[in-house]
């Protein structure tokens, strides 16, 4: 980035130099404002030039502060006889932040030192957020993975994990290398095909490595007849419930949400202002209140708990999410498309159905998947509407039904190691589901965006 900008800078200077030269030699009378005339450097406006903020001595100061912070915190903990790692971390961070400020202050000015201090703090908050996300995901995986796979000796664990990691690494590297060639414009049919083939092969390979050791009982049985201390039992009933409830929620919410988004952005009718207001209000609705509404209106009026009412509660949560994302997507569609459809004599509905929606398809799918990802983990609303159950209930329209969050919630309240281990395993399944949905939504959305802008 730096190199490119330097190059454009020189061109810019050269041009102005040229102009001056030409003026002098050929036509001294030409009134040509030297400063205004040359074109500004044609650099990418999105990538501003940043001189390197840190020199070698700055880096040295950072390293020294970090080392002295660790030493100080260690000494302090030793002297005061503190053992909690977090106490150590707090003191180390305090010392580190102060240290960076003081050293910079001593060597340079107040302004620079302040800048250094803020830079440190902002990097720390970035590191904190990334660290927390990573810590949580790893913690959940470690706690829960044991119940999902058969008991294996450590060596086999290492071998299988190593194999999967290797395959993922191969797929990623192939994709990345060939993607770079593609981007550079030297791609061939092979470079386009190869990443897909390798990716598919690696996925199949990873499946072959993982599937044989998966604890199938956990996915194919419920916990109706499993005592708290027994082995076995699983999440089959919860998976059925999640599937049915989410399907119902999606069928209800996605059409409503997309039509509302169309109303807000394409039609802009009289209700647009109050509806946007209400959608904003809905998106901040506490999830438990969504459950409470359905409970009050439907469940508590003699109709009883059911999976379908949970679906409705989840739909109330999904509608604002999908509406807002869908509206953002509609906003990205070029007005020229709409106007050309109208100019060709199409009525508005045809312009929306045949031009706007197909263009927005990928984005709308992304919006829906993000809504599902959000709804699938909600516990409070389904607690008030589906209530939860230990038996497999295939009928979502009557009797309590379980789902993944309710399964976890129910087991967490039992003071029993085996049950809590089951809850952790179910949490891993839930987390993986959310991750898969989220990544799918991203990939589809990114492809759609590339298509929309690429044409």
């Amino acid at each position: 980035m730096t190199v490119e900008l330097e190059r454009t800078d020189t061109i810019w200077l050269d041009e102005s130099a040229d102009v001056a030269e030409v003026d002098e030699v050929v036509e001294p009378v030409v009134e040509r404002p030297i400063v205004d005339d040359p074109e500004p450097p044609a650099s990418d406006p999105d990538v501003p030039f940043r001189p390197s903020a840190l020199g070698p001595s700055d880096r040295l100061e950072f390293v020294l502060s970090a080392v002295s912070a660790l030493a100080f915190a260690w000494a302090l903990c030793l002297v005061m006889d503190w053992s909690a790692p977090l106490t150590f971390a707090i003191w180390a961070i305090i010392w580190f932040v102060t240290g960076t400020y003081v050293t910079a202050r001593a060597r340079t000015s107040k302004v620079v030192a302040m800048d250094r201090l803020v830079t440190t703090l902002i990097w720390l908050s970035g590191a904190f957020a990334v660290g927390v996300l990573g810590w949580m995901i790893v913690f959940v995986l470690i706690e829960g993975i044991g119940g999902l796979v058969d008991d294996l000796p450590t060596s086999e664990w290492v071998a299988r994990l190593g194999a999967v990691t290797l395959m993922v690494a191969v797929a990623v590297v192939v994709r990345w290398r060939l993607g770079r060639r593609e981007a550079a414009g030297t791609g061939t049919a092979l470079t386009r095909l190869l990443p897909r083939v390798v990716g598919a092969a690696c996925a199949v390979g990873a499946m072959l490595v993982i599937l044989p050791v998966v604890n199938t009982e956990f996915f194919t049985s419920d916990i109706a007849e499993v005592g708290p201390l027994d082995e076995g039992g699983g999440i089959y009933h919860a998976l059925i419930g999640t599937l049915e409830q989410i399907s119902i929620a999606t069928v209800i919410s996605v059409p409503i949400a997309i039509l509302t988004a169309i109303y807000l952005h394409e039609i802009k009718g009289r209700l647009a202002v109050p509806v946007r207001f209400i959608v904003d209000a809905m998106s901040g609705l506490p999830s438990i209140v969504a459950g409470l509404i359905v409970f009050t209106v439907w469940v508590n009026t003699g109709r009883g708990f059911s999976g379908a009412s949970a679906g409705v509660a989840l739909a109330i949560i999904m509608i604002p999410i999908v509406t807002r994302t869908a509206e953002e997507i509609l906003r990205t569609i070029d007005n020229g498309l709409r106007e050309s459809a109208l100019a060709l004599g199409a009525p508005q509905w045809r312009s929306v159905v045949q031009v706007v929606l197909p263009t927005a398809r990928a984005g709308l799918i992304t919006a829906s998947i993000l809504g599902v990802a959000r709804a699938i983990g909600e516990t409070a609303p389904v607690l008030l509407t589906a209530f939860g159950s230990a038996v497999t209930n295939y009928n979502p329209f009557s009797a309590p039904q379980s789902d993944l969050p309710l399964f976890i919630w129910g087991l967490l309240r039992e003071p029993n190691e085996a049950q809590i281990a089951r809850a952790w395993s179910a949490a891993v399944v839930l987390l993986l589901l959310v991750l898969v949905l989220f990544i799918t939504a991203r990939v589809i959305g990114e492809r759609g965006a590339r298509k929309r802008t690429g044409r």
């Binding site: 990538v47 977090l86 913690f139 509302t260 207001f277 209140v289 209106v297 990802a373 516990t379 969050p405």
Partner: protein, 326 residues
């Protein structure tokens, strides 16, 4: 713009010719259907308000509205429902969450916008969105099993070093420091961070880059640029995003239920065991509630609904206005 036609035809304003739209039958059906969908949203919120008020009425009238909002007893047998203490505790959890979460969230937003390498930016925004998508149940479990221990250590540290501040004081020397407002606030802080980060990042990304470059070109440090250009520009958007986070924190249920012990008395010593929130009350008592207690829970839900509605609408109004300005 003068409406009267100019005399002697000197200057005619560019007035667009009014377009008379004739809508086909299909258009009218299409508009009707979408308007119906949009009206469904209105209907849902309207039903919520009406039904919750209607069903909450018996419990509120049994207790009396003043006692309901200020009391701190929950005795279904005596028909006494007071959520005053819970309201205080709810707000204490939300404020704790803001105090911890806002610096991190704003730091993260600035980090993504101004400090991180451009190539990492999509990855980081994706990470923030992912953090928002992770179920609150999983946050709660993590808070309960992974955070309780270390955070009670932090609580001990705060209680012994910063007890000049009243809220960090302990009523008794050896009171339990787990399952407190502090730990609930910490977990909720992590949950509201992505909300605050993504909204404030959006707003701060709209600051005119020319002004930023100008500030840097005048010799300002990066912090100087942020302080004098980015933050003033994004001020109202940041305030709005914080309020949005506050609204989210008020309504958070499952993560709070898992990490606290529900008490009805207001507990201002945030490090001590015992806290509560309205949503935690509903989730905890819901299972065995019968008769009037159900109405009591609905009344509590109504209080939560109104509180979050007000906070959210103010927040949205502020954010939308700042986005329009940008």
């Amino acid at each position: 713009m003068p409406d009267a036609p100019a005399p002697d035809g000197a200057v005619l304003e560019d007035v667009p010719r009014p377009i008379v739209q004739s809508r086909t039958f299909g258009d009218r059906v299409f508009r009707g259907i979408s308007a119906g969908a949009a009206a469904t949203c209105l209907l849902i919120m309207f039903t919520t308000g009406v039904f919750l008020t209607w069903k909450a009425f018996p419990a509120i009238s049994a207790t009396g509205p003043i006692d309901f909002l200020t009391g701190d007893t929950w005795q279904p047998d005596d028909e006494a429902f007071g959520v005053g203490g819970l309201l205080v505790n709810t707000i204490m959890i939300a404020i704790t969450a803001l105090v911890i979460g806002v610096p991190v969230a704003l730091g993260l937003a600035l980090f993504i916008n101004e400090y991180s390498p451009a190539k990492m930016r999509p990855l980081l925004t994706g990470g923030v969105d992912l953090l928002a998508a992770i179920p609150s149940l999983i946050f709660g479990m993590w808070g309960l099993f992974a955070l309780s221990e270390p955070l009670s250590g932090v609580a001990e540290w705060l209680a012994s070093h910063l007890n000049a501040i009243p809220i960090f004081r302990l009523t008794e020397p050896d009171v339990a420091l787990t399952r407190s407002t502090f730990i609930a606030g910490f977990v909720v802080a992590i949950m509201i961070t992505p909300v605050i980060t993504s909204v404030s990042r959006d707003v701060m990304a709209q600051v005119p880059r020319v002004q930023c470059e100008g500030a840097l070109g005048l010799g300002g440090s990066r912090w100087g640029m942020i302080r004098d250009v980015v933050l003033p520009f994004g001020k109202s958007g940041i305030v709005g995003s914080i309020l949005l986070g506050f609204g989210r924190a008020l309504g958070e249920t499952i993560a709070v239920v898992l990490v606290i012990d529900l008490v009805f008395q207001p507990n201002l010593n945030i490090l001590e065991q015992g806290s509560g929130s309205i949503s935690a009350l509903i989730a905890t008592k819901f299972g065995e509630a019968q008769g009037l207690e159900i109405n009591g829970l609905i009344a509590a839900g109504l209080a939560l609904f109104i509180m979050t509605l007000i906070v959210n609408l103010i927040a949205r109004a502020i954010v939308n206005r700042s986005k329009l300005a940008g």
